[in-house]
């Protein structure tokens, strides 16, 4: 009954990205309010490197997702709730793509090219333009606030499944839950 469980690759990607994205969110909010200092510039670079990494991970994750069907939702879930669950996951994927893209474009428009780990330059798609840069900063920020909202729903739903519905929705994503059970 392998179809009841996620593959270990899917689980690894889920938890690796969860850690990475929480780190990116926290770093993003923290660094933004810092006064200008060498540390601030360093943190911005790290945030951008981590953001590019997260973007590559989500691409790989999407590829994995379309080639490895995830387990179905429990029959006991009402159709409307099932739809909400799928819509929520879809929204998370859209945001995981859109947020790093907006960050990259914002960097270009602000005139600070993204160079992955200081080694691999990511081309600037936009020319330097203050208005566009400020607009993209608002977009990046707004998408992240939306992401936090959808994330809260995602975590809340997982906890409700576990503690209220007492089904295996949370457990089947748990690292130690082996496929062969």
């Amino acid at each position: 009954m392998a179809s009841h469980h996620y593959t270990s690759t899917a689980k690894a990607l889920h938890w690796l990205m969860a850690a990475l994205l929480f780190g990116l969110l926290a770093l993003g909010f923290y660094m933004h309010d810092l006064p200008l200092s060498p540390e601030k510039l360093q943190l911005y670079s790290w945030h951008k490197w981590a953001g590019v990494s997260a973007f590559l991970l989500v691409l790989f994750r999407l590829l994995w997702r379309v080639t490895h069907r995830p387990p179905a939702l429990p029959e006991t879930m009402p159709k409307l709730v099932q739809f909400a669950a799928h819509a929520g996951h879809f929204g998370l994927y859209v945001l995981m793509i859109a947020i790093p893209l907006s960050g990259w474009l914002m960097s270009s428009a602000k005139g600070f090219q993204t160079v992955w780990f200081g080694v691999l330059p990511i081309p600037d798609l936009l020319d330097k333009n203050k208005e566009v840069g400020d607009l993209l900063q608002t977009v990046h920020m707004s998408l992240n606030l939306l992401f936090i909202a959808v994330l809260a729903g995602h975590i809340g739903a997982a906890l409700k499944h576990h503690f209220v519905d007492k089904d295996d929705i949370l457990i089947r994503m748990a690292p130690r839950h082996s496929k062969e059970k």
């Binding site: 060498p38 602000k110 005139g111 993204t114 330059p121 330097k128």
Partner: protein
């Protein structure tokens, strides 16, 4: 005789060759930009205000003179908080040292439209000898000088204290200029 004939021929071809002196800088067609590296990433900046004097006659390049006075508070580092930061004490300290000055010394023609301008650059109370390669392109009664040279910010104590290390902001800063000047 042959030489004189040749000189005469040239003189008729370029009637005003030795009378052309470029002295009037056109600020709207001139720019002083710079490129610095931040964690290995090149970032463009510029100075929005500067004044200068110039005397350049292509026929007598050795007699050419140029001086620049760059208003450091007019810096555009690429980010507003960066502009504020570099005006401060650890960087330019514009309250005490409002401008950077360049005064030309000898001008050496390198052949073609290339020149090498030796001069002295003073920033933040420190003066360094610099050699500036430049090209000159005449377009009717205006001429365009283009060039770039690299300075080390530490030579002028630009970026002290927590900025003194070069791991975040590199020591080398490339200065690029385009000066458009017309004849009187």
């Amino acid at each position: 005789m042959k030489r004189l004939a040749l000189a005469l021929a040239f003189a008729t071809l370029i009637p005003a060759a030795h009378a052309v002196e470029y002295t009037q800088i056109q600020p709207d067609k001139s720019a002083i930009n710079f490129v610095y590296k931040q964690m290995g990433v090149a970032v463009d900046g510029k100075f929005k205000k500067f004044s200068s004097t110039l005397n350049f006659d292509p026929a007598k390049p050795a007699a050419a003179k140029a001086s620049f006075d760059v208003e450091l508070a007019s810096v555009d580092t690429g980010a507003p908080e960066g502009d504020q930061e570099v005006a401060g004490k650890p960087w330019f300290n514009t309250k005490v040292f409002p401008s950077a000055k360049f005064v030309s010394g000898t001008v050496k023609p390198l052949g073609g439209n290339k020149y090498e301008v030796a001069g002295q650059l003073s920033i933040k109370g420190k003066t360094q000898d610099v050699v500036v390669p430049a090209t000159f392109t005449a377009q009717g009664n205006t001429g365009i000088f283009d060039g770039s040279f690299t300075i080390r910010r530490a030579d002028f104590s630009i970026g002290e204290g927590s900025w003194a290390k070069f791991d975040i902001v590199a020591n080398d800063v490339q200065i690029k200029f385009r000066i458009t000047a017309s004849t009187k």
